[in-house]
Amino acid sequence: MRFLLLFSRQGKLRLQKWFTAMTDREKKKIIREMTTIVLARQPRSCNFLQWKDLKIIYKRYASLYFCLAVENQENELLALEVIHRYVELLDKYFGNVCELDIIFNFEKAYFILDEFLMGGEIQETSKQIVNRAIESSDMLQEDDHSEWYEVELFGP
C-alpha cells in the first residue's frame, strides 16, 4: 500500500497516511489530484482507478470518501476489503461512526489505523481483538490502581 486518504464530499481532508517517504509538496499535489478525480466519478462506476503507475481504490461511506493507493499488481477487491475492515473497526470503536467522530477524534482514528496496518501491510484483521480491547478498557476505568493510569490522573 502507498497511501490512504479520507476526505469529505466537499474535498476536505480528514485523515492521511503515507506508507512511503514523500515530500510535503508531493503529498499536497496527490491530495489535490485524488480529491478531484474521485469526486468527479459517476455514482455507478467501478471503485478502481488507474492513476500514474498506481491503482486507486476508493469507496464512499455516507459523506466520507476512503481512498487507498496500492501497487499495480495488487488485488483490487482485497484492497476494497481493507477499506471496509477499517470502517468496521472505526464503527466498532465509535459506535455507529459518522464523519464528525473522525473530525473531532482524528487522532483515535490514526491509532486504530496503526493497529490495523503497519508499514503499509495488514497487521491485525481481527475485529474481535479490537472488541476485546474495548471491553478491557471499560474495566480499566474502574481499576484505578493501574500504574500508568495513576500517572495519567495525577501527572508524573
Partner: protein
C-alpha cells in the same frame, strides 16, 4: 515485576480508548480542538479561515515554547497542530516539540508525540535523527506499550542510515514471549528489508523461525518477507513449497482461530499471500506445481460465498493456476471462474474479469472468443476505466488482421482521455502495434501522424526515435522503402500546408528531419517550396528554439540550387545574430553550406550509405588541445561528481550524517543511466566543457542515433547512421497466409471494416468478427505476437532476441508460423524452410514436445543466490525439474566428451531438451581464448535419424563449428557430439544461444528439436596481465566507460584488498596494483576486448570506474561485479 508486565499487557489493546471511552467520543467536542473545528465551520471564506488558523498557530507557538507548559498541555497542543497541518497550513515550529513529547511524555503523551512525528516528518527529515535515542530507549523499555509504539514508528519512518543502531534490539524482539511484539518486530524487519535489504541479510534464518511460529499472526506477518524474498529468488525457496501448501490447506479447512475470520471466510489476507507465493514457486516448475494442484482445487471449491472477499481469493487462485505449470482440469475450472467474473452485473467484478482475461489471453485465446460480445459491450462502457482495461485486453490479442480496428478503438479513446499517464501509455502501445502489424504504408504513416499529434510532447522519446530509425534503415526492398518515405514526405508537406502551429513540437521535429532527408524523393515538389514551408515554422511564435534548430538543419540539407539559395540566405541572415548559440551555429552552417554545393553534397550525401559511424565519445581528438592548455597553466578538468566531492570534503561542518547522502545519490543516478554507456562516457576525464554541454543537449533533444551532429576522430562527422544495430529487418511479406484467415468461431469478412457504432446486434457481431479475427486459428494457439510474424511488416529482428522463449511450455506450443520464423532467423536455406512449412502441419504433434530450455548457471554453483543451507543450494543448482531423473544419463555422457577437452574442466552437462527420438544435452568448457560449447545428441528411438543438422545462433556471439562435417546419420541409441567455438561479438550480461536440430526419422518426415542455452558473460572473462604503465596508456585510449558505487567488504581488515580479491576469484580478473585507497584491475574477453577497472574507496563504498574499447562491456561487467559482491 512480571506482574507489572502482565498488567500492562492486558491494558495494551485498550490503549485505543484510554482517555475517552466509546460513546463519550463526542464529549471532546467541547475541548479546545472542538472549539477550533467549530470556529472553522462557521466561517464563510477561505480568507477568514486563513486568518483564524494563523492566529491559532501563533498562539500554539507561544505556548509550546513556554517553559511552563506541561507535557499534558503539550499533548493537547500537538493534536491541534496536527489538525492545522492537515488543513494545509505549515507548522514547522512544532516539529521539534513533537519529538520532545515523544521523548519525555508518559505513555499517552508519548503516543501523540509519535503520531505527530510520523505525520510531520518524512524519512529524510534531519530532525528524525533526534528520535533515534527515544526509539532506542523505548525498545528497551519494560513497558510493552512503549515497545509497541517504538516498533510502529520504526516501521512507519526511520532514517535508513540509522537502522544498524536499532537492528539488534528489533531482532531480539523476534523471540519475545508476547505474540504482538513478535509480530510487530517481523513487520518492522520487513520494512527494513524493503528500504535496506543488505542490512537484514544475516537474519534470514530467523525469518524461518517466524514462519514456524506457533502463533498464526506472527507466521502471517513473516509471509510479507517471504513473498518479497521469493519474488527475487524463487529457486532458493523451493524447499518451502510443501510447508506453504500445508499452511494453506489448514487455513482453507478452517483450522485457524475464529479471530482470523473475515465475514466468515478464514484468514483471506493470509490465503491470498500464500497463493501469491505458490504461484511464484510453481512458475515454470512442474514438480512444484504438482504439489499445489490439490489445494488450488480445494480453494476454488471452498470459495463459493457471494462476497467480495471470496471473489478476491478466487481471482488470486485463477491467476495462480494460470501462472504455474498447467493442469487441464484446473484450467477449465479457472476459465469458468473468469467467465463468471466477466458476466457479472457487478462492475467491480467485471473489471477484475477483464483483468484476468488480459492475464490469461496469451495462454488461452479461446477464452476471449467465448466472451467476445461482453468485451464489445465493455468497449462502449460509460466508465472510462472499464474501457481502458478492455483496450489493454485488445492490445494483447492484436494481430495483423485486426490491427486497424483495434488501433482505431485506441485512438478513439485517446481523444476522450484527459489523463497524461494514460495518453503516454496508450500512444506507446499504438506505436508498437503500428510498427509490428501495419497493413500498408498509408495506414502506418497516418497512424503515426495521429500518434505524434495526440502524444505530442508527453510521449516517450523512443517513439519518434524508432520511427525515424525505421524510415532510415528501411527494409530489404529498396522499392518499398522509397514508397514509404515518399508517402511520409507527401503527408508531411500537406500537413505543413495546413495549420502547422497546432502540431506538437516533437512532431514538427520529426517532420523536419524527414523532409530534410527525403524531400528530394518527390520530384513534383520544388525544394524551394519545401524550404518556404519550413521557413514558415521559424516564424511561428510557438516554435521552440530546439525545433528551430531542427528546421535549420533540414534547410541545410535541402538548399542546393538557385531558387533555394535566396530563402536560405534570408533565414541565415536572421538567425546568424540570434541570442541562442545553438541557432546561431546552425545558421552559420546553413549559410556556408548553401554557398558551397560541393561541400554540401560531401557533408550530406544523398544516397547515405549505411555504414555505422564510429563515435569517439571520449573526444580523444581534443587531447592535443587539452595538453596544450594544461601546459599553458590551465586547471585540469574535473568531472562534476569529483568537484562536488571535493567541495563537500572542504566543508568544515558537514550537516549530513556520516556523509552518506552523496554516494547514495550517485549510485542511484548511475543505475538509471546504466543502459546508456555512450551518454555516460561523455563525462570522461579528458573531455572539456564541450562534452558537458553536448551531454546536456542530448538529454533535452530527441536521442536520435546519428541524427544530431557528432564530432568524431577526424573532426566533423556527417554520416547519420545508427551507431549500433545494423539494419536488420525481415522481408515484408504483405501476403496473408490463408490459414490465418480461417476462423471457425467467428466468421469474418475478407476486408475487416471498422464499425464503431454497434447499436444493433448485427453491427456488434460484425465488430466482434473484425476484432477477434485470427484468434481461434491453429496458428495462434499460443504466443499471439509470434504466430503472426510472417505477415509483420515493420518488425525489427532485434525484437525476438529481446524476448527469447523463456519457458518450456511456450516453446512447446510454438505454432508452425513461429517455428518457420525462427528458421528464417537462423539463416537456413529457403529450400529447407519451404519443405519444413509443408511438413509442419502434418508433423506438428510429433515435434510439439521437442523443445524445452534450461537455465544454466555458469559452471560454478556460486553464481546462484543461495542464502540458505548447503542442501538448498544443491536443490537450487538442480535447476529444471525434469532434469532430476535424467542425471544418471548425464554421467554417462561425460565419456563422450572429446578427448582434447577431457583435461579441461567443463560445466555440468545439462539436459536441454528431449522428445520421443532425441535427447539433447550440453555443457561448456572454458578455454584460453574462447568458450567451447559441446552439444550431445542422443538418439533414443529405435530407428536411425538421418540428415542430422544443427544450427546454433546468437546475435551477440560468434559461433563457429569445430568439426566441419556434422554427422549425417545417427544410429539408434547412439550419441554424437557437436562442438562450437564461441566468442563474444557484442558483450551482454547474459547470452542466449538458440539451437535447432533438424533430422529425419525412418518414417521420412522432417523433425526439429529446439533448445535454449544460457551463458553468462563471466564464462568469457579472462584475466589480463598488464603492467601499471601499460594500463595507463590503455586507460587513456579506451572510449566506453561507466561508473558506479559498489558495496565494499567493510568488515574485513583491508576492505579494498579483500573486495578486489573476491572479484579476482569470482570473475577471474587480474589485480594490477593496489596503492593506498585505490586499486586497478584488468580483464579481457578476447585479447582485443579488454576492460579496465579503476576502484577507489569512498565513504564506505567502492567507487568503480570501468573503461573498455568495446561498447556495453563496462556495463555488463559492472553488473557481474555487483552481483559477485552482493552475493558474497
Amino acid at each position: 515485576m512480571s506482574d507489572v508486565m502482565e498488567k500492562t499487557l492486558t491494558a495494551l489493546p485498550s490503549l485505543l480508548s484510554l482517555d475517552s471511552q466509546p460513546g463519550s467520543a463526542k464529549l471532546s467536542a467541547n475541548s479546545k480542538l472542538g472549539n477550533l473545528i467549530r470556529g472553522i465551520t462557521e466561517l464563510t471564506s477561505k480568507h477568514e479561515e486563513e486568518k483564524l488558523i494563523q492566529r491559532e498557530l501563533s498562539s500554539i507557538k507561544e505556548q509550546v515554547s513556554s517553559p511552563n507548559t506541561t507535557m499534558r498541555q503539550m499533548k493537547e497542543l500537538m493534536v491541534r497542530t496536527i489538525y492545522c497541518e492537515m488543513l494545509g497550513y505549515e507548522a514547522s515550529f512544532s516539529y521539534i516539540h513533537a519529538i520532545k513529547l515523544a521523548q519525555q511524555g508518559n505513555v499517552l503523551e508519548k503516543r501523540v508525540g509519535y503520531l505527530a512525528v510520523s505525520l510531520f516528518l518524512n524519512e529524510s527529515h534531519e530532525l528524525l535523527l533526534l528520535l533515534v535515542n527515544t526509539v532506542l530507549k523505548d525498545l528497551q523499555s519494560t513497558n510493552l506499550i512503549e515497545v509497541c509504539m517504538a516498533l510502529t514508528v520504526v516501521s512507519q519512518m526511520f532514517p535508513k542510515d540509522m537502522i544498524p543502531a536499532i537492528l539488534p534490539l528489533v531482532e531480539e524482539k523476534l523471540s519475545h514471549s508476547k505474540e504482538i511484539i513478535r509480530r510487530k518486530a517481523v513487520l518492522a524487519l520487513y520494512k527494513f528489508y524493503l528500504i535496506a535489504p543488505n542490512q537484514v541479510q544475516h537474519i534470514h534464518n530467523k525469518f524461518r523461525k517466524a514462519l514456524c511460529d506457533k502463533d498464526p499472526g506472527v507466521m502471517s506477518a513473516s509471509l510479507h518477507i517471504y513473498l518479497q524474498l521469493i519474488q527475487e529468488n524463487p529457486e532458493g525457496y523451493k524447499d518451502l513449497t510443501m510447508s506453504f501448501v500445508t499452511i494453506l490447506k489448514q487455513v482453507v479447512m478452517g483450522k485457524l482461530p475464529m479471530d482470523f475470520n473475515y465475514h466468515c471466510v478464514p484468514a483471506p489476507w493470509l490465503q491470498i499471500h500464500l497463493l501469491r507465493i505458490l504461484s511464484l514457486l510453481g512458475k515454470n516448475d512442474q514438480s512444484m506445481s504438482e504439489i499445489m494442484y490439490e489445494i488450488l482445487d480445494e480453494s476454488l471449491q471452498r470459495a463459493e460465498m457471494n462476497h467480495n472477499i471470496t471473489y478476491a481469493i478466487l481471482y488470486e487462485c485463477v491467476k495462480c493456476i494460470y501462472t504455474i505449470h498447467p493442469k487441464p482440469d484446473l484450467l477449465e475450472k479457472a476459465a469458468k471462474c473468469i467467465g463468471s467474473f466477466v458476466l457479472s452485473p457487478r462492475i467491480n467484478l467485471k473489471y477484475l474479469g477483464l483483468k484476468a482475461l488480459t492475464y490469461v489471453v496469451q495462454q488461452d485465446p479461446k477464452l476471449v472468443l467465448q466472451h467476445q460480445m461482453t468485451i464489445i459491450e465493455c468497449l462502449d462502457h460509460p466508465d472510462l476505466i472499464i474501457k481502458r482495461e478492455t483496450l489493454e485486453l485488445l492490445f494483447r490479442i492484436t494481430n495483423a488482421q485486426n490491427v486497424t480496428v483495434i488501433v482505431e478503438k485506441m485512438l478513439d479513446f485517446l481523444q476522450v482521455s484527459e489523463d497524461n499517464h494514460t495518453t503516454i501509455d496508450l500512444v506507446g502501445k499504438v506505436a508498437e502495434l503500428a510498427e509490428k502489424y501495419a497493413p500498408d504504408n498509408e495506414w502506418f504513416i497516418e497512424t503515426m501522424n495521429t500518434v505524434f499529434s495526440v502524444g505530442g510532447d508527453v510521449m516517450q522519446p523512443d517513439i519518434p526515435n524508432s520511427f525515424l530509425k525505421l524510415l532510415l534503415e528501411g527494409f530489404d526492398s529498396v522499392e518499398e522503402d522509397k514508397k514509404l518515405r515518399l508517402f511520409a514526405v507527401n503527408s508531411y508537406v500537406s500537413l505543413l500546408q495546413g495549420e502547422p502551429s497546432r502540431l506538437p513540437q516533437r512532431f514538427l521535429q520529426v517532420i523536419c528531419w524527414v523532409l530534410g532527408e527525403y524531400a528530394h524523393l518527390n520530384e513534383d515538389v520544388e525544394p524551394d517550396a519545401v524550404l518556404r514551408l519550413l521557413a514558415k515554422l521559424l516564424d511561428m511564435k510557438s516554435s521552440t528554439s530546439e525545433t528551430k534548430s531542427w528546421v535549420l538543419i533540414a534547410m541545410t540539407k535541402l538548399c542546393s540550387g538557385g531558387a533555394a539559395f535566396s530563402v536560405a540566405h534570408e533565414v541565415s541572415e536572421t538567425y546568424g545574430s540570434s541570442m541562442d548559440t545553438m541557432l546561431r551555429q546552425r545558421a552559420q552552417e546553413l549559410q556556408h553550406l548553401s554557398q558551397d554545393s560541393a561541400l554540401q553534397s560531401r557533408v550530406f550525401p544523398r544516397s547515405g550509405s549505411q555504414e555505422p559511424v564510429e563515435v569517439d565519445s571520449s573526444l580523444s581528438f581534443l587531447d592535443g588541445f587539452v595538453s596544450e592548455a594544461l601546459a599553458a597553466g590551465a586547471a585540469p578538468y574535473k568531472p562534476p561528481h569529483q568537484r562536488q566531492e571535493e567541495m563537500s570534503r572542504s566543508k568544515v561542518l558537514s550537516l549530513e550524517p556520516y556523509g552518506l547522502s552523496l554516494p547514495i545519490s550517485m549510485s542511484s543516478c548511475s543505475v538509471t543511466d546504466r543502459q546508456s554507456p555512450t551518454l555516460l562516457s561523455m563525462s570522461s576525464s579528458l573531455s572539456g566543457d564541450s562534452a558537458e554541454l553536448s551531454h546536456k543537449a542530448s538529454s533535452t533533444t530527441l536521442k536520435l542515433d546519428g541524427v544530431t551532429r557528432v564530432w568524431g576522430r577526424e573532426g566533423y562527422l556527417v554520416q547519420r547512421e545508427p551507431v549500433q544495430e545494423a539494419a536488420q529487418v525481415e522481408a515484408p511479406s504483405p501476403l496473408r497466409s490463408p490459414r490465418q484467415q480461417g476462423d471457425e468461431d467467428s466468421p469474418h469478412s475478407q476486408t475487416p471494416t471498422p464499425t464503431p457504432t454497434p447499436e444493433s446486434e448485427q453491427e456488434k457481431q460484425q465488430l466482434a468478427s473484425s476484432l477477434f479475427v485470427g484468434l481461434a486459428s491453429p496458428s495462434s494457439v499460443s504466443l499471439m505476437g509470434k504466430s503472426e510474424q510472417t505477415s509483420q511488416r515493420f518488425r525489427r529482428k532485434a525484437r525476438i532476441q529481446d524476448k527469447p522463449p523463456t519457458s518450456g511450455e511456450q516453446i512447446n506450443n510454438l505454432p508452425p508460423g513461429g517455428a518457420a520464423d525462427l528458421l528464417l532467423d537462423s539463416n537456413v536455406s529457403s529450400e529447407l524452410v519451404s519443405s519444413l512449412e509443408q511438413t509442419h502441419r502434418n508433423s506438428l504433434d510429433l515435434t510439439a514436445n521437442g523443445a524445452c530450455d534450461a537455465e544454466l548457471p555458469d559452471g560454478d554453483v556460486k553464481e546462484i543466490k543461495t542464502p540458505l543451507s548447503t542442501d538448498d543450494s544443491v536443490l537450487a543448482a538442480g535447476l529444471s525439474p525434469h532434469e532430476g531423473p535424467d542425471r544418471p544419463k548425464d554421467l554417462c555422457l561425460t565419456s563422450y566428451l572429446p578427448a582434447e577437452l577431457s583435461g579441461l574442466s567443463h560445466s555440468e552437462i545439462t539436459l536441454l531438451c528431449t522428445n520421443q527420438s532425441l535427447d539433447l544435452s550440453a555443457c561448456h568448457v572454458q578455454k584460453e581464448d574462447c568458450v567451447e560449447l559441446v552439444v550431445f545428441i542422443k538418439n533414443s528411438s529405435d530407428s536411425a535419424a538421418h540428415q542430422l543438422q544443427m544450427q546454433i545462433s546468437c546475435e551477440e556471439i560468434e559461433v563457429s563449428c569445430v568439426c566441419d562435417s556434422p554427422v549425417e546419420e545417427l544410429k539408434s541409441h547412439s550419441v554424437t557430439v557437436c562442438q562450437y567455438f564461441l566468442t563474444v561479438k557484442r558483450p551482454s550480461v547474459c547470452f542466449d544461444l538458440v539451437g535447432m536440430v533438424y533430422y529425419q526419422l525412418a518414417a521420412g518426415s522432417l523433425q526439429t528439436a529446439q533448445f535454449l542455452y544460457k551463458l553468462p558473460l563471466t564464462s568469457f572473462i579472462r584475466p589480463l596481465a598488464v603492467s601499471t604503465e601499460e594500463y595507463g596508456t590503455m586507460w587513456l585510449a579506451f572510449s566506453h566507460d561507466t561508473k558506479q558505487n559498489l558495496p565494499l567488504m567493510k568488515d574485513e581488515r583491508e576492505p579494498l584488498t579483500a573486495t578486489l580479491n573476491l572479484l579476482k576469484t569470482k570473475l577471474q580478473l587480474h589485480v594490477v596494483e593496489i596503492i593506498g585507497e585505490e586499486g586497478i584491475v584488468a580483464c579481457c574477453l578476447r585479447p582485443d576486448q579488454q576492460c579496465l577497472l579503476h576502484c577507489r574507496m569512498h565513504a564506505g563504498m567502492l567507487a568503480a570506474w570501468l573503461r573498455s574499447p568495446v561498447p556495453d562491456l563496462p556495463d555488463s561487467l559492472l553488473y557481474h561485479c555487483q552481483r559477485a559482491l552482493q552475493e558474497r
